[in-house]
Symmetry: D2
Subunit: 379 residues, 4 copies
């Protein structure tokens, strides 16, 4: 355990030139001054890794050509990294996590956990064995009003949950995928067997379970590849049944032209409902059985401690994606410091996500209709 | 054929005291002065029918205790009714339509067509045989911007359609159904085998086909009864496949607390998309592949003739549900006068709707997963 | 007094071919079947008046070439008109009202009352002398949620009112005025001395006073003519002080490109606030001092009797401009029948509006800054 | 000039325990890794300053009891601060800026520039004399879509500007001011002569001029104190005339219950208009004369270089207040590094703001109506 309030030192894996998510990890990690990026294995090309190090503004000596080198050098130095952040394509998550944990270094890893369920199971075993802090950056669970909805539902604000709709439309892959971001995401060798379901479907899935406190236990998956020539799904529709009997649907798409990042969650219970949209994250609609509709807003005096903790500014000063991401890092910092209260997703969430991906890909391809999703040691 | 511009005379069946939809039919029919309510069989109780007649402001002599009486008297008088409007519970649609058509009187009928598919098939045969004007009040196809989206899609504005999402959440049956409106809708004897799917699901279904110009040809239905003790479905989720290969989903619910009448249609194509919400019907979002997003608004100079025809006021003067409903009546009036251009839904739409209801109820109950929906003479 | 529930007979003055507001009066008057258009003096050109009569669907015999002819003939027939509706350009209001009242016929008149304050004062004297029902169609006071806000404020929902913002941006006169609608509105001989202030500014003014229950007692006017060559103001900004000390501002414009009919009212008090927008009239925001924000919606169970009376459909079925206009006519019908409860604006509102126009035009032209607005017998 | 890409070292003045704006400056400054907080004079109480240093996570040795101490020590050390950030109450800005500039240290200072216009004039003289980088944190000019609107207007997208509405309603001072934030803002000794006008009115004023590229040259001010017992204005309304003849209004309030931070700017020109709201900053409405309405969104491909530079994430990943604030710091960093392109407000903006405050306070108190605002060397 690290002594309170020292700034934690992060080593980033991946996130080299052209990466979207690398700089996001850096900003999110450092936003609250709990953490500092001090080292990185940004690329397997030594020159590119060093260039990235300069761009990130770290000591060039600490921009390594491989994770292995970083772990070796950093664990040897007096003020080496406290943890590793993995921001590589999915297929590289498992080896990175394995190497770090083996070296005794905690890990925060991008989602989904891995490229395959088998890998995720191995990862889960490694995490359990290592007994070290581990988190997954399901970013959207970091938004203050997402946490508020979760807390209110847990406190009974809408009674027993009956219905959950989660949708995640995007349009950026409606044409032919172009650019570094798109490239690996539509390549089965690097992304894994899931396309849209793995890239954004799991976010929606995690959000639904995180906020409702329920678990999907049956599902019916309808994955499709809309853009000709593509190898992975780019549109997915799932019908869901939760472990309390609640009904639900999950709709995610990357071919919905004009949609940017339209993640939206609606949860209806016996006495009320919630409605939240990622693109206007500072407002949460709460419906009441008696007909009242409330606009709950970030900064409101009635918010509970989770939402307050997750906010930095007063009401009306919008916080967004980077701040939500930063909250996952702050949660992880709490874990590293041995403090309680972290809501950061962990390896169980990762396992569930991978199981969702594989189940959806498999059962949709085989046209199986409703299938069981209750099993597994991760529940 | 009726000579142009004479005001058409309507006889209403149903819509007696306590009815929501009866007065709506009256207002919609008369809004544009094309039609006048002159007679009615408002209730099978003679006193109640007569009271309703007084309330509607018609000649009390023409408030009849039965449709049969109305048809007999009205066809005998010099200036009798030109058509019958049927606004009774579903199970009564077929006998009413049969009686009117047999008497040589055209009919406009509330949706869904009937209580069962078998009835709808009989109704279709009657309509074809009679050769008289017939329309169904799928109200939402009367909105100006719905017709604009339809016209733009037909003109290629978004290329080939790839994906259709139609949702219709309501919350008014989240508690125990109460009041006259709710009563018959949750009673299989009067509503038919479908609850939510028959009451609002068919609206969503019709809207999706109407706007896209496509036909559902496969579907997977998941109907549920959420409120304990209820006999019909109150929440339904369908996955769809259209006849051009487009993917889709239809979500309708009557237990989504806080939702009033949240019908929303999103259609995505190869080069753009549309997004329309019934509760703010005077705005239509159009997405373009190049990243532009347009707010198309009622009254805009770029609107096509269908939308212009369907509007009465300049931009910024909101028109709503009654005006959309009135547009169906104006369409029907065009049919009665032998004028072209009507977009009013007909018996084929009615048949498709009933086939949807029965297919969804049946295949969901038997848990059949994906089923064919391409057959039938109605395509 | 007319015996209850007989349909009232209306004679329309103005509203001939090309008129926007004429058909609106007709639809609004007839919407609820309280009133029927039976006669009209639609144009001073006999042929055009007759053509309009055919278009409106009335007995061609009752389409008169002048108001005088209509009054003479109609008062002589057994079932002649019960009242006159005046929908002519402003400069013609006074003679029309004078003729009707002199003939003993009640009047409902479009706003503003007249073209000049002197005319309004004469009209007020005539109305008082005649002792007949009289109303002005300040349409926006007919919206259900406007009446709800009024009722809640009167009941103390936001405490003492402190601040009122009312804005009314339009863009349709941003270019050179074209078409029949624009023509007379920018012509001082027909519209009077006020342009934007008379056409829409008075609507905003009336709405602010109607909802708050307060009276403007001081003001500072800044009227401008933005489009070159125009003779009347097309943009106006007023600072206001109300009779309880509340501060306020009124902003109206006809050169705000892209704005359709953006009337919006915000009222803030000691313990809460209201926010209403005409273009989405079925939602009213209510702010509470404790930080809660409510979306009050048409059809909500908590609405008071005024809003309920003014609505025809359940929540989620949008009503709009025509329905609001119809509520003014229903109010007027209550007056005609001797029933209580009318909230329709009367001649006092008309006088206040004309005084506003003249005060604003005059003091702005003379650059007088703050001026008194408390005087007059109309307060 | 500092050699490119070395991280710049910041010393913060103010921002001690309980401060809202201090941590905001820290996060904003460090967000993009251009700048690092290394020292501070957080409080005049040595213990409190040291505590704040620990909280901020800097070397406790560099948490000074006074700006003077900080300047003395930091200029003497090898890797001392590169600049000072001033986040104290207004009355302390001038002495802080004077001390820093005298010591040869560049300054970024919170707005408004000072507590009085005389102080601002002295500050302007100091800045000009020192020839050192200087910026003011008018945060809202840092939003990407604000800069996009500015660039489009400069490029002629809406033709000549005709009308500007800028409003800034807040409600947090509707009750009795409480808490550290409110305390000094309602105290003339610390805030200066302006309350609402100085706290938020100047933000609105700066935004209007920044985006339009115009200058206010006449104004009419109406400042009021609504909450009993308060010494400064808490609600202000200004009518404006710009140097190209455009008309405008500025409405700011701190007693508008329910409003969080409702800054909104509307600019209308001869051929179009823009509409932007701070609370949903990632959307900008663009109106076109031909009736089209576009939703311009952060991340859109059509955005110009200023907006692209000011964004960190792809479309649909909301950025907010902290990111906008960070853009001002990045601009300032460009100045420090001698790079071109900064859009950060400078001392001229500060002077104009102070002149606005004093003019508004003075002319409103003396009820002067329209007054000249064209003079001064700052135009």
């Amino acid at each position: 355990m690290i002594r309170s309030k020292r700034r934690l030192r992060m080593g980033l894996v991946g996130g080299g030139p052209g990466s979207f998510i690398g700089p996001v990890h850096r900003i999110a990690a450092e936003l609250d001054r709990e953490i500092e990026l001090v080292a990185g294995a940004f690329s397997s090309d030594p020159d590119r890794s060093r260039d990235a190090g300069v761009l990130y503004g770290i000591d060039p000596e600490r921009a390594y050509p491989s994770l292995e080198a970083m772990l070796r050098e950093e664990t040897a130095r007096p003020e080496g990294i406290d943890f590793v952040a993995v921001a590589t394509p999915n297929f590289h998550h498992l080896p990175a996590v394995r190497a770090a944990l083996t070296a005794g270094v905690p890990v925060i890893c991008d989602k989904p956990a891995t490229a395959t369920l088998a890998e995720a199971e191995e990862m889960a075993a490694l995490v359990r064995q290592a007994g070290l802090p581990f988190a997954l950056t399901y970013t959207y669970s970091g938004y203050p009003l997402v946490r508020e909805a979760r807390a209110r539902i847990a406190a009974g604000a809408i009674g027993k949950v009956r219905k959950i709709l989660v949708e995640y439309p995007q349009g950026w892959l409606a044409g032919e995928a172009a650019g570094k971001q798109a490239e690996w995401r539509v390549d089965p060798a690097r992304a894994g067997a899931g396309g849209c379901i793995a890239d954004i479907g799991v976010h929606a899935f995690h959000l639904a379970e995180f906020v409702s406190g329920l678990r999907v236990e049956r599902l019916m998956a309808d994955l499709g590849t809309v853009v000709p020539g593509r190898l992975l799904d780019d549109d997915c529709q799932l019908l869901l049944r939760f472990n309390n009997g609640a009904r639900g649907a999950l709709l995610a798409s990357q071919i919905s032209i004009g949609e940017r990042n339209g993640l939206r969650l609606r949860v209806y219970g016996e006495t009320g409902g919630f409605d939240w949209k990622q693109e206007t994250p500072n407002t949460l609609i709460q419906h009441h059985l008696d007909g009242r509709t409330e606009l709950v807003q970030a900064g409101d005096p009635a918010l509970g401690p989770d939402a307050v903790w997750a906010s930095r500014t007063p009401g009306g000063h919008p916080e967004g994606y980077l701040e939500a991401f930063a909250n996952i890092y702050r949660d992880f910092a709490r874990q590293l410091r041995g403090e309680p209260g972290s809501l950061a997703p962990g390896i169980e969430d990762g396992l569930r996500g991978m199981r969702l991906i594989e189940t959806a890909v498999d059962t949709s391809a085989r046209n199986l209709g409703w299938v069981d999703f209750s099993g597994g040691q991760d529940n």
